[in-house]
């Protein structure tokens, strides 16, 4: 650890207040450090607060207790240094793919010729060439998520926050998108925080996997999962299989606990 961490999450607690009913402790004194250009997965059962943690880092929810710093600076609101990708894409449905990608570049005041060129570059990077004038409603789920990823990458955030980005896709599309994301990440290395409840996905993509407990969310363990991701037989890779098994055993208890709480 020669270089100081890029993202420091320091004893973050967060209360979730539903419109009706009692407030719930979603996160309980969570601490986490993420290094520059690292790919880290937040893994846990549903309702464990992993998305909440991502939204706090993104600045979309106010930090109430604890501290989040990016490059030493406390997070105060959203900013283009952290780009987010949502599970349900959140594309602007009234804009074409190109219009969606251009939006962020326009907000940054990039000159017209430059942003047009840049938008096309990223549309091509995610393999949507030929669909730049399509509206989101005309695209499949996988294509929508490609468009959303292009939109976020285009404004060049240092940090990529991904909130179960492939959770709404069918299994085959998900597999392809995982490969695609690895390819893009290897080309444009960014710090990625990737929220998922899929153990294989977490091990496949990330350098480290932070396993979270059932509610209230805490970090249970962090498992090192760095290995050669370019192995063509990655699913038979011994290291991969062992890590999936190890992490599955860690997360299984929490999933059972989460189930129990729901039915109680």
């Amino acid at each position: 650890m020669q270089e100081p961490a890029q993202i420091v999450v320091d004893h973050i607690s967060h209360l979730y207040r539903p419109p009706r009913g009692r407030e719930v402790l979603a996160l309980d004194a969570v601490s986490l450090e993420v290094r520059r250009s690292e790919f880290i997965a937040l893994l846990g059962p549903s309702g464990c607060g992993k998305s909440t943690l991502l939204y706090l880092i993104g600045g979309f929810l106010p930090v109430e207790k604890g501290d989040i710093r990016i490059d030493g600076k406390a997070v105060a609101g959203p900013g283009p240094d952290r780009g987010i990708v949502f599970q349900h894409f959140a594309l602007f449905p009234w804009k074409t793919v190109r219009g969606n990608v251009l939006y962020g570049l326009e907000r940054q005041g990039m000159p017209k010729a430059e942003r047009e060129k840049r938008a096309m570059e990223y549309i091509e990077l995610v393999g949507l060439h030929g669909f730049e004038d399509s509206y989101p409603s005309q695209l499949s789920g996988g294509m929508k998520q490609r468009a959303a990823i292009a939109r976020t990458l285009a404004f060049d955030p240092k940090i990529l926050l991904m909130d179960e980005p492939f959770g709404a896709l069918d299994a085959q599309t998900r597999g392809l998108m995982q490969m695609e994301l690895l390819r893009i990440w290897q080309r444009t290395p960014k710090t990625v925080i990737f929220v998922t409840h899929d153990v294989q996905e977490a091990v496949l993509l990330s350098d480290r996997v932070a396993v979270m407990t059932a509610r209230p969310g805490r970090i249970k363990t962090i498992v090192d999962t760095k290995f050669d991701k370019n192995d063509p037989d990655i699913f038979k890779n011994k290291f991969f299989v062992e890590k999936v098994d190890e992490i599955w055993n860690l997360v299984k208890d929490e999933a059972i606990k989460a189930q129990g709480k729901r039915s109680a």
Binding site: G77, A90, Y103, G104, S137
Partner: protein, 277 residues
């Protein structure tokens, strides 16, 4: 949309075939209306009803034609349309503005919410005597009556539409650097536009209905006023002519709104869906 890409083979038999098919389909879609009109004509001609009770459709159409030639139709229909559409424009601008204020501002919501809750379901026509007392019986009074009646669906639709805008959509825009101001017209309004449009589509026929009712009750020119005058002279052909004219105008207005909606919401999945007659 997909029909545009098909290239039809252009021989005369194919063209005639397509034309016949389109005519048949067009007729099938309006069959119930045609049947109703036919029954009307038959009942009137066979003497089941007296011409005073039910003048024949053909006589009514003749009356409409002569009113059109004399210019009365243009004056009456023009005035009714002017009042209905002016009222509609005010409903649209004011209704969307109030709805936006209510969703963005707690004070505005605190003030308007009870008014909308009480005002929406109540029969606003009950205010008519008050409106006459305050504003007289001319255009101002009639248009006021229209706005009082038809603004509620626009307000309600705007509030519900803005409440329904996905949190992620707003977050995405904030993430890309949109300011609070930009957020409103670049994200919230476009995202809410399909439902706001639905509110406007409910409001427009209301505007026409209230315009005609207000004209009937306040008198003067306009389709409603002309019908009441005709009724007072026991001129049932002109009364029925008014009914047919109002029906046609209402239908055309609604159709125009559907076209505008399709044009504005080209991006929406519904733009590719078939419409009703």
């Amino acid at each position: 949309m997909s029909n545009d890409t098909q290239t039809p083979r252009d021989g005369v038999p194919e063209m005639l075939g397509r034309l016949a098919w389109q005519l048949a389909w067009g007729f099938a879609r309006i069959f119930s209306i045609v049947a109703l009109l036919a029954v009307w004509e038959i009942l009137a001609r066979t003497g089941t009803f007296t011409p005073f009770q039910l003048p024949a459709l053909s006589a009514v159409l003749e009356r409409i034609w002569s009113d059109a030639v004399s210019g009365d139709l243009a004056i009456n229909a023009g005035l009714t349309l002017y009042r209905a559409l002016t009222g509609f424009a005010i409903c649209a601008v004011l209704g969307i503005a109030i709805g936006m204020a209510m969703s963005r501002n707690a004070v505005a919501n605190w003030f308007f919410d009870p008014i909308v809750s009480v005002g929406f379901p109540m029969p606003k026509i009950a205010f008519l005597p008050v409106v006459i007392l305050w504003l007289g019986v001319y255009d101002t009074a009639k248009i006021t009556m229209i706005v009082v009646d038809a603004i509620f669906p626009v307000i309600a639709a705007t509030v519900i539409a803005i409440q329904g805008v996905e949190r992620e959509l707003i977050w995405s825009a904030r993430n890309m650097g949109a300011s609070k101001r930009e957020l409103l017209h670049q994200v919230i309004l476009p995202a809410a536009s399909p439902q706001i449009m639905t509110g406007l589509q409910v409001s427009l026929p209301l505007c026409l209905i209230v315009a005609v009712v207000a004209e009937m009750l306040m008198g003067g020119y306009g389709l409603g006023g002309a019908m009441i005058t005709a009724a007072q002279f026991a001129n049932s052909t002109s009364v029925f002519a008014g009914i047919v004219e109002i029906a046609v105008i209402g239908y055309v207005l609604i159709k125009i709104m559907v076209l505008i909606r399709r044009r504005l919401l080209l991006w929406h999945p519904e733009a590719n869906a078939p419409a009703t007659a």
